[in-house]
Symmetry: D2
Subunit: 117 residues, 4 copies
Amino acid sequence: MTTVTTSHADGEHTPIPRGKARRAIRGYASGKDDYLARLSKIEGQVRGLQRMVEDDRWCPDIVTQVSSVTRALQEVSVGLLNDHIHSCVVDAVRRSATDADAALDEVASTIRQVVRL
Amino acid sequence: MTTVTTSHADGEHTPIPRGKARRAIRGYASGKDDYLARLSKIEGQVRGLQRMVEDDRWCPDIVTQVSSVTRALQEVSVGLLNDHIHSCVVDAVRRSATDADAALDEVASTIRQVVRL
Amino acid sequence: MTTVTTSHADGEHTPIPRGKARRAIRGYASGKDDYLARLSKIEGQVRGLQRMVEDDRWCPDIVTQVSSVTRALQEVSVGLLNDHIHSCVVDAVRRSATDADAALDEVASTIRQVVRL
Amino acid sequence: MTTVTTSHADGEHTPIPRGKARRAIRGYASGKDDYLARLSKIEGQVRGLQRMVEDDRWCPDIVTQVSSVTRALQEVSVGLLNDHIHSCVVDAVRRSATDADAALDEVASTIRQVVRL
């Protein structure tokens, strides 16, 4: 029961102050290091794109590389979305119908953003 | 005539060594600073995503931000593709039918990558 | 309780024979007529595309029209996906952790298809 | 020369009356039957989607099928776009710089629609 309440508090939509971050259990928290590693690699790829432009590399080669970065970012998006459904949405469903509805509406609008509709 | 030959040389698919970069006239060369500024902003956004994960921010908020970075990258892709058609492809068409065919085949496969087919 | 059991039976992945269709309560069942109307409109748009090609219409105009049909189809996809999460996934979460996991894995792979990863 | 002039007339953006269609040489004209066959197959797939909804088929299965139709439509889009660049844009480049600019602007906005930016 305590867990449920805690998980409810975590579900609040407001940003968590840095100092409190340790206590938050987000959907992706278990895979946090993995997401950080992937984003750090993506950051390096974006720097690589700058070097390609700097060096006047052939446009189609740069476009190919941009597509690869875009895909890596979308993998992050879909991963986060699924982690979110797996934890926060499931928690909301177990709490109450009202919480479930709110959580599912948010998921619906997030899916639309990922698909870009 | 000299220009045509030079422009042909530029069209070669090999990377141009840094030292020679000044001589290369790529399709995007005129807008190079603009592309560098946009990629530098995107790099900052990717660092921002890492901070969001670090701070255990709410998944849908991170996903929203990832979508915004993805869109910015696709704007870069489409910009580069159009610049490429505007300069390199037009040059190829003016040179010869053979060069035009090669250039258009490359554009076709680049468009497929951007659309992800 | 009876409902839960029925809904479990519906959740089976095998196609339902036409004669039994009336009994099935899918996630989208309540909005079935809406989906049928949208798909029927899309079918008409695809026939319109054939007429455009038949009449040798200007390529960019046809491409614009194709994009509009593609978007309408993706709206259907995202609608079905959300209805599915709203009903079948929520039911599975309420049934058991095992059912929830299976349902969420299926949602994850469906989202990947919609986003085309 | 005559060809160039004819091709210019064809390039006009107004729809061609059915009776005159035989005279039009669009970029895709040579592959017209292929596009008609693909669109006819897509029309059949959309009818298949309606049957799936009618029969209360499992949502993720319908979504999978919608993705396949969407991809087939995007293949048509990209095919038409490339045919258009191959013929109408190349013709415009050969005619004049002004015609080339107009054609390339149109291609740029068409690519944006396909990529959905």
